[in-house]
Symmetry: C2
Subunit: 319 residues, 2 copies
């Protein structure tokens, strides 16, 4: 792991990419004249609460892997993290998952209040598109990024996935016209219908957004259509593996490191991969998805190595 | 009024523009494969609840007034109404204004539930940007529209205005670094500080979005910078007049026509124009703002007449 993400040719390493995007968050959340102070504080609170910054770093790595300058991808990296953060703020609300803690800190509505949390989420969501439109150049790349991010975050993607997830928890079969894009896992499992439902939820709830991190990075590097599709497939595999890893951590994880109560999903009777497939089979599938992801970007050659390393990190992380 | 918006040269009238944008809403909310049915129903419920469609019609009229084809402006018209609708859904939530009725119908969270209402709002907000990016051409115009709409709807505009409004209701002076862009009214009134605060809130909460309706319409017609600024000023005046008219209707309006309890603002002790200035002075100011708006677009000549008519309608409406 260390070897793969070590600096090559003087370029910044993973940790430096993380620092670069975090500086970007700060710049875009600097005080200005028209935003109420409490609202800005609330947005900063959740953005600065930390996290792995997986999505924004993926944007920069994808840009780099396609031969672009990762600096050009900072606005898109900031935008996707703001979208991710807004989704966490809204998902934590009492009417949704009703969580009091997130990354070991009070959730936004606990620290501020519900109205502020709703508006902070709305504000971050809207700001993401403002940033893309203002700072991604040239215009056709900016439009492509807005389209990638909006369709990934919207009702056919993340928002729809959260809705389906809530309905599944209530024991209601979510009525959707389709079941997402099957990666073939569901044909193998012991409970194909539940597994297919779980996969459909995660492909939308977390998968689409991760895919847009990759495609935006590629677009900013002016990658061709085939390369964008390659990155998209990489993102789809990594996204599912990430979710399986999350489910595994929910069972095996360390509460202090996770910053939230673990085994919560199992207690809630939520559908999880380990619940449906067992621990060993879940691990095996996550590994095979990461292998597929890495194989799929082989055509990028050495430039894709750090993207590969980040994909493998998804399985090794302990929080 | 009728005279001004009567058909000229075979072009559609105001009512037809309204029909055109409503057909647009339907097209963009048609069923597809990935959106959960309940979520789509919830979004359609609020979008189809009616309303004057002032903002989307303004987009089409502004485009027409600048010599463009209003048909080209339909995606932007749909996008701005989706943003307006999302803001109503979220503003009605129990944690915000806690309203049970909207336009005589149960509010979204009453008809569905809070989680669905939050997600329907998030979905409409995100879809607005997806529509702009997918269907506004060429790319530089699409980017300019995303920027107009996102900055108008965001924390420096509508979302910030709602936050400041909530804080003002709680009797907390909203701490903002600035007080918006003063139109000069506040220098004249009996309580300059309260009036200035009220004006600052409305310039952001409703004014910015209305301005973006005008500027997006102009951009789609490829209007030059001066014309866009002219439209922007028109929108700023009409937006404030609209808010004064709303405050007046809250006192003098007919509950059945308004579709909500009237005199609610006064009972809540909210800051209002009639409360600060009296009925007559409020009417006079609204009229003078509309006059200023109409004067400002005189350079557009006859092409601007229907835009003028819509501005005057703002004062004459009874709901």
């Amino acid at each position: 792991m260390e070897r793969l993400i070590a600096p090559r040719k003087g370029r910044p390493v993973f940790g430096e990419f993380r620092k670069i995007v975090e500086e970007g968050f700060e710049r875009y959340l600097a005080p200005n004249h028209d935003c109420p102070v409490r609202l800005r504080e609330s947005m900063r609170y959740s953005v600065e609460a930390g996290g792995k910054r997986l999505r924004p770093v993926m944007v920069l790595l994808a840009c780099e892997a396609c031969g672009g300058d990762p600096t050009d991808a900072i606005p898109a990296a900031v935008a996707i993290e703001f979208i991710h953060t807004y989704s966490l703020i809204h998902d934590d609300l009492p009417a949704m998952d009703n969580d009091d803690l997130r990354r070991g800190q009070p959730t936004n509505h606990k620290q501020f209040d519900e109205a502020t949390a709703i508006l902070a989420g709305d504000g971050l969501l809207t700001l993401a598109f403002e940033i893309l439109a203002r700072d991604v150049k040239p215009a056709d790349v900016a439009v492509a990024c807005v389209l990638d991010l909006a369709s990934a975050a919207g009702v056919d993607g993340m928002v729809g996935g959260q809705m389906a997830d809530l309905q599944a928890e209530e024991g209601r079969e979510p009525r959707v016209e389709g079941q997402g894009h099957d990666l073939g896992l569901s044909a193998l499992g012991p409970e194909p219908s539940a597994l297919s439902q779980l996969e459909a939820i995660h492909l939308r709830k977390t998968g689409r957004l991760l895919r847009s991190a990759l495609t935006m990075g590629g677009r900013i590097a002016k990658a061709d259509k085939n390369t964008i599709e390659m990155l998209d497939h990489f993102g789809k595999c990594v996204g599912l593996a990430f979710q399986i890893a999350d489910d595994l951590l929910d069972i095996t994880g360390d509460e202090a490191k996770m910053g939230k109560g673990v085994r919560k999903d199992a207690e809630l009777g939520k559908l999880t991969y380990p619940g449906l497939l067992g621990l060993e089979e879940s691990r095996r599938r996550a590994q095979s998805l990461i292998d597929e992801a890495c194989r799929s970007i082989e055509p990028l050659g050495d430039r894709g190595l750090r993207l590969e390393a980040l994909a493998r990190f998804v399985l090794e992380r302990d929080h």
